[in-house]
């Protein structure tokens, strides 16, 4: 009910911009409040790119940590404390991550980024000189923020597997890691996939930390060292001081974001629901 209302209100507010720009809004790269020309392509690209880069970092780490925490490598009480600590990561407000990113992460990242640019500048990925804020630091902080979701859901789905599976694999002589890689992970893959989808949705909608770190430049650049923008940070930056058609264009951008995230979330719900049906 509330959900439908949210979609409706945003859609109504977005209507003037929709009439003016039509579907071209989605693939026009120019966002210029002075001439009232709006296109969201660079923001849509930034949203997807930063979220995917964050997944690229967070998925291996999260699944690795989940395996470590769901097997009996270390005593259960210590595991419980570690799981709680990782869940605590999810509870820290995103504005605090942003602050930490500006004053701790970016100074640490700058020498590395310069090194990347000097030595690998021939690759399009690193072909702009680093200015501090940019796609890469934003993706790094995003990865930290979605790590707890991936770890928690992967741990849950690994623990929820019937113990018969593990015992059967061990009894035919598979080593522990053979069991994990060939039996347990494939069996839990839909749960892990659901967790990854949820994390993707979270990363696409994350606002504050990204706004503070991505540089908010409405440009389309392949380089991960260049400043970029996402839909969410565009909204955070421009809403308070926009008028007329710009408000409507922002609403349109918000509408695009909602659709993107709803699709991801509904897919995630369906995948997670499937594993429950399979093993319970």
């Amino acid at each position: 009910m509330l959900l439908a209302m949210i979609v409706l209100v945003v859609a109504i507010q977005a209507w003037p911009a929709f009439q003016t720009f039509g579907l071209g809004f989605v693939y026009q790269p120019v966002w210029n409040p002075v001439t009232d020309t709006y296109g969201a392509l660079s923001m849509i690209y930034g949203t997807l790119m930063s979220a995917l880069m964050a997944l690229l970092i967070a998925v291996p780490l999260g699944v690795g940590a989940a395996i470590f925490l769901s097997e009996n490598f270390i005593p259960l009480p210590i595991r419980k404390v570690l799981i709680f600590l990782i869940e605590l990561l999810a509870a820290i407000p995103s504005v605090v991550y942003g602050l930490w990113g500006i004053f701790v992460l970016i100074p640490l990242y700058r020498p590395w980024a310069s090194w990347l640019h000097v030595n690998f500048g021939w690759m399009p990925l690193f072909n702009t000189p680093p200015v501090g804020p940019g796609m890469l630091p934003a993706a790094l902080v995003l990865a930290i923020m979605i790590l707890p979701i991936i770890t928690a859901i992967s741990t849950d789905s690994l623990v929820a597997l019937p113990s018969d599976l593990r015992q059967a694999a061990l009894s035919v002589g598979a080593s522990r890691w053979r069991t994990i890689l060939t039996v347990l992970l494939p069996a839990a893959i839909s749960g892990i996939g659901g967790g990854v989808m949820l994390a993707l949705g979270r990363a696409m909608g994350e606002t504050m930390a990204v706004t503070m770190l991505i540089g908010n430049a409405n440009q389309l650049s392949v380089s991960v060292l260049a400043p970029a923008n996402t839909i969410a940070s565009l909204l955070a930056n421009q809403f308070a001081e926009s008028r007329g058609l710009q408000v409507s264009a922002l609403m349109y951008a918000a509408f695009v974001l909602i659709i993107m995230i709803l699709v991801v979330n509904i897919l995630a719900q369906m995948i997670v629901g499937k594993i429950r049906a399979k093993y319970q």
Binding site: L99, T151, L198, L235
Partner: protein, 297 residues
């Protein structure tokens, strides 16, 4: 993947049961275990780093002035976040007033009146999807509903409404879970002595589930007080003491955001101190909630 075939050559020899530290599968297992442990450590490092910096940088400015004074103008010394602290309390208070009755009523309906029906499943699905809606969208929604239309303008009420949209799914979910944990026998016993369904729910089931419900509400409040995105363009900000529910109002999280982006050292220190308050709030409530649930089990 190591080649395990060589190990089965002398399968029936007793020595094949020995643990051979040089074997391929032993080394592979060792490497993978170390990798997994490394992943876990890497996952914990950011938490330690963030907490350390917030404590270290924010701890320097924790004093009475922080809690009682107005924020300083650029380049001035001293000052505090008193108005932002009060503003956060007011906004979160409004959000709680809206979301707690809504959330609890919805959960009671879901688990007591309409359990298992098609409608319930649809609503639960919608609630799950709603909890995945990014916080900035809640801000956009309230902006379109209350601010642009001039119903409240930029105000504490608009900010509180935006936060309540984020709190409702959490409250519905935790209350729903708490109600389902109340044994069915208790309800049968209440009906057995002649209670009507509403009497049963108000006098028997809700009190039994109260501790878990309160835990859920407190967690929702702690999360909401750290939210920034929905407040930037609903509650806006202000450098003065709150002057009314329908005026722009400062909040801790928005103040941290603004002060993080300015080049003045004094204000940056205040941003760290503000984050420290937010982080302490979240961490302490999480630990207390965890202890309460542990005690019950």
């Amino acid at each position: 993947m190591p080649d395990d075939a060589t190990e089965s050559d002398n399968f029936f020899e007793p020595s094949s049961l020995d643990r051979r530290p040089g074997s391929a599968r032993f080394i592979f297992n060792l490497i993978m275990t170390v990798l997994a442990a490394l992943c876990t450590i890497l996952a914990i490092i950011p938490l330690v780093a963030v907490l350390f910096y917030v404590l270290f940088q924010g701890g320097q400015r924790i004093d009475i002035a922080l809690l009682t004074q107005l924020p300083p103008p650029p380049l001035a010394e001293g000052g505090g976040l008193g108005n932002a602290l009060l503003g956060t309390l007011i906004i979160v208070g409004i959000a709680t007033l809206i979301s707690v009755p809504c959330g609890i009523l919805a959960a009671v309906y879901l688990s007591e009146y309409a359990l298992g029906s098609q409608l319930t499943q649809t609503i639960q699905f919608a609630t799950n999807v709603l909890s995945g809606v990014p916080s900035i969208i809640a801000g956009v929604f309230v902006y379109g509903l209350l601010v642009v239309t001039g119903l409240t303008g930029y105000s504490a009420v608009a900010g509180g409404t935006a936060l309540s949209i984020l709190m409702i799914p959490t409250i519905i979910r935790t209350t729903d879970e708490a109600l389902q944990l109340v044994p069915q026998d208790v309800r049968f016993a209440a009906f057995g002595v002649g209670a009507t369904p509403s009497q049963c729910i108000i006098k028997i089931v809700l009190p039994a589930a109260l501790p878990s419900i309160i835990t859920g509400i407190v967690l929702a409040i702690a999360r909401a007080s750290g939210e920034t995105a929905p407040l930037i363009f609903t509650a806006l900000n202000s450098s003065f003491w709150p002057s009314g529910l329908f005026q722009p109002i400062a909040s801790l999280s928005v103040s941290v955001y603004n002060f993080a982006l300015v080049p003045f050292e004094n204000q940056q220190e205040l941003a760290w101190a503000g984050s420290l308050i937010l982080v302490l709030l979240v961490v302490i409530t999480s630990i207390v909630a965890r202890l309460v649930t542990l005690q019950k089990n």
